[in-house]
Amino acid sequence: MDGEMKIGVYVCNCGTNIAKVVDCDAVAEAAAQLPGVAVARSYKYMCSNPGQEMIIQDIRDLDLDRVVVAACSPRMHEPTFRKAIQQAGLNPYLLEMANIREQCSWVHSDPVMATQKATALTRAAVYRVARHQPLEQRSVDLCPDTLVIGGGIAGMSAALDLADAGYKVYLVEREDHLGGNVARVDLLAPYLDSARDLLTERITRVMEHQNIDVLLGAEVESLEGFVGNFTATVRGQNGSPFRRSVEVGNVIVATGYKEFDASRITYYGYGKLPNVITSFEFEKMLRQGRVQTKEGRLPRYVAIIHCVGSRNPEYHTYCSRVCCMTALKYAHEVKAAVPGCYVSDVYIDMHAFGKGHEDFYRRSAEVKTLFLMYAKNDHPVIRKAGPNDGCEMLIEVNECLSGETIEIPADLVILMVGMEPREDSEQVAHLVNISRDKDGWFIESHPKLDPVATTTDGIYIAGACQFPKDIPDSVAQARAAAARILARIARGKLEIDAVFAEVDEDRCSGCRVCNELCPYSAIEFDEEKRRSHVISALCKACGACVAACPSGAITARHFTDDQIFAEIEGVLA
């Protein structure tokens, strides 16, 4: 078989990312000696246009029939190079990548060992690609309807874009009203516009939109099927209890966040001191237009404490990203509500990275807000004030900038509680089969290049369920998800990976070991023929049945025993 074969091997230097540790020329030279290799080159950036051109030219000039690219992780650029060789008329599955960056040059420092390893990985790729078969991409019909889980600002924004484009959307909201966490907010930083106005516009459009089916007080119970053809069961009791199943092609998860529970932190006396409240409780006061102490008096001193539950090894190490600007917003709103009230803002760092944020910070300083900086590991201490102190509480802060210990009066203390994943995020992740990071936020497919998709095809994430976000970011991600789905719908048919398992009926003895194994029930048993067979559209190519079949009657396309054996021989040769 190798006799006739013409394999091209391309070793990427990735600038210096690979080349600084791995001797790419040596790897290419070694590859050139392997059976079936017609050409082996080392080049600065294989993924660049000239790099791809080089491959395409070689395929045409040397009529290569197989290509190996030794470069970054296939999870990064496999699609890129598949497209490239496809342009040159090769079947995209006649490509194999050797991961010599993420799994070699970036993790090893010894040039000799690293080069040896890169050579072995490349050899394995050559052995493997020699056994690749051209595979037909499968295309299935795609249901243009979309399921959006979560009726917050992100969910609504995504739903509207899809609906405006003329496609059906099912918007499922657990609460009996839309709006999510934004509905709990009064004004919005940094322009102090009204959250209600913002929402009312969205909510009315959503409720009135003929393409949007809003299911309030409802939850998604189960999600079956695969990209393009999901079946979701929605259960709810908005009015009378109901359960309905809807067919959708894609799903957007926009389930948002919950605020940190301040009572987990004892030292701020939340729950004990009546006038220590959380940012959300203060928002409520603002919306009701009654900024006052529990005793019903107007506060003369308001203190705002940042990073409650955030950037703190005991609770959450991350920054919740919206609290700083919200705190500044409070300074303005307090002054507006209680003229002459003194506001002190006790912070660790002032994160003002967003558009207009820095100006907003400056403007807040102008309204005479006292800014006090405390150190991460040295939180302010609140105690009840004495009868002659003329205030409810006294807050002791070791102020970093002045280096002095400062005691400030407070009638009302606002704790800027951070964001954390909802309690049900684990169930949701399981429901739609996506992963969560160590804090419980949903994991995107790629942190930089693919921030709205997930590892499960057809499932997208938007808004603060992925990580703390402010409204602009949430809306941006939501509309990005909508755009991704629209692009997919526009293509009409849905190209899905040609990789799936097949039963050789001449080898299947009908023992039925595989029947129970498939997580997608893709294996059915034909009682007539007494054979098992795989419904390829349902198969996600995990290969569990392939390994389990005692008579080797099941083959995993593109992950055949033969190909993996070749890879084993390659890395060990």
Partner: protein
């Protein structure tokens, strides 16, 4: 048939004789073979000398059928001799094909065997310290015994084999079919099967021919054959009785499972399978009905000595061998 009678030889290496009996069990068929072929060598039933074979021209024999595993230099010597003298060499039976039951010796060591036979043995002569030696001299008369290989090999691990006919022993009707096919090929009446072909077997595993009813393979415990009187109509595996049938090539006539005895795999792995044992690992594990590591361990503990079940006839065929380990 052919104008010239075929020249064939039957030989046994490390075998039990069951393969030769399976040839006798083809009954009158032997007389048919006698019509078209001269049996130049058949130790169990015919007189004939090594000298006769050594005197033959290379390739003078049309076919040699060798049963038994390779245990010692003598086995290897004769196997090589017959290879040289024969146009076609056939591994006959499971020992020649996979190593067979004698191959279970590869799970222990030569020292262990000698210890158990000549040192720790309830019927040994009291005070015995003697162990047989490769070379002895009894008052001037020198006597030799062959030394033995550290492990058992299957035939194709020492000589080039053209075809194999597995089974312990091969069932007589399979044997007839295979021999007829070969005779046809050797007399130019049919194209020879591709080299390496396994003859006298079917493509599919035993379950295909097993009448027992199969539904869902999920078990909470395994039963050893002595622990249960199984339902005669239901798949033994589904009753928790380890049966290698689903990992074993059919051809035997399913005689064991239909008699209430689980298959132990004598017909060898399905085509293309590297190791029967490895395949049984994943297949059997797939049936374990639990997700709790401890419960999984507990369920699997009801299946002791797994290896001798998974590789009952194929230890010498495993990719792993421990021949030189103490």
């Amino acid at each position: 048939m052919a104008d010239r009678k075929l020249q064939i030889a039957l030989y046994w290496c490390a075998a039990c004789g069951g393969c030769d009996v399976s040839v006798l069990d083809t009954d009158e068929f032997i007389l048919e073979v006698d019509k078209v072929a001269d049996i130049r060598l058949w130790p169990i039933a015919a007189d004939g000398k090594y000298a006769d074979i050594e005197a033959m021209a290379d390739g003078e024999l049309d076919a040699a059928f060798i049963n038994g595993a390779i245990r010692n230099s003598e086995n290897e010597h004769v196997a090589k001799l017959l290879r040289r003298k024969s146009k076609v060499l056939v591994a006959y039976g499971s020992c020649a094909s996979f190593g067979g039951i004698p191959g279970l010796a590869n799970l222990t060591t030569r020292d262990e065997i000698l210890r158990r036979v000549y040192r720790e043995n309830p019927s040994l002569e009291p005070g015995n310290t003697t162990v047989p030696l490769p070379e002895t001299t009894v008052d001037g008369m020198q006597l030799t015994l062959p030394s033995f290989y550290r492990r058992v090999y299957r035939l194709d691990q020492v000589v080039d084999v053209d075809y194999s006919i597995p089974g312990c022993p091969p069932q007589p009707d399979r044997c007839r079919e295979s021999v007829l096919a070969l005779v046809a090929a050797l007399t130019g009446q049919a194209d020879p099967p591709p080299k390496g072909s396994v003859l006298g077997v079917y493509e599919r595993a035993l379950c295909d021919d097993c009448p027992r009813e199969k539904t869902e393979k999920k078990v909470k415990r395994f039963y050893r054959p002595w622990e249960i009187v199984p339902d005669p109509n239901v798949c033994l595996m589904e009753q928790g009785v380890f049966c290698a049938g689903f990992a074993t090539r059919s051809g035997c006539g399913v005689r064991c499972p239909t008699s209430g005895i689980p298959c132990r795999g004598c017909y060898g792995p399905a085509p293309g399978v590297v190791d029967q044992g490895a395949k049984l690992v994943s297949a059997v594990a797939s049936m374990v009905d639990s997700q709790d590591p401890e419960e999984i361990e507990a369920i699997l503990a009801t299946l002791p000595d797994f290896t001798s079940f998974a590789n009952r006839y194929s230890v010498p065929s495993s990719p792993l061998q421990r021949s030189h380990r103490r």
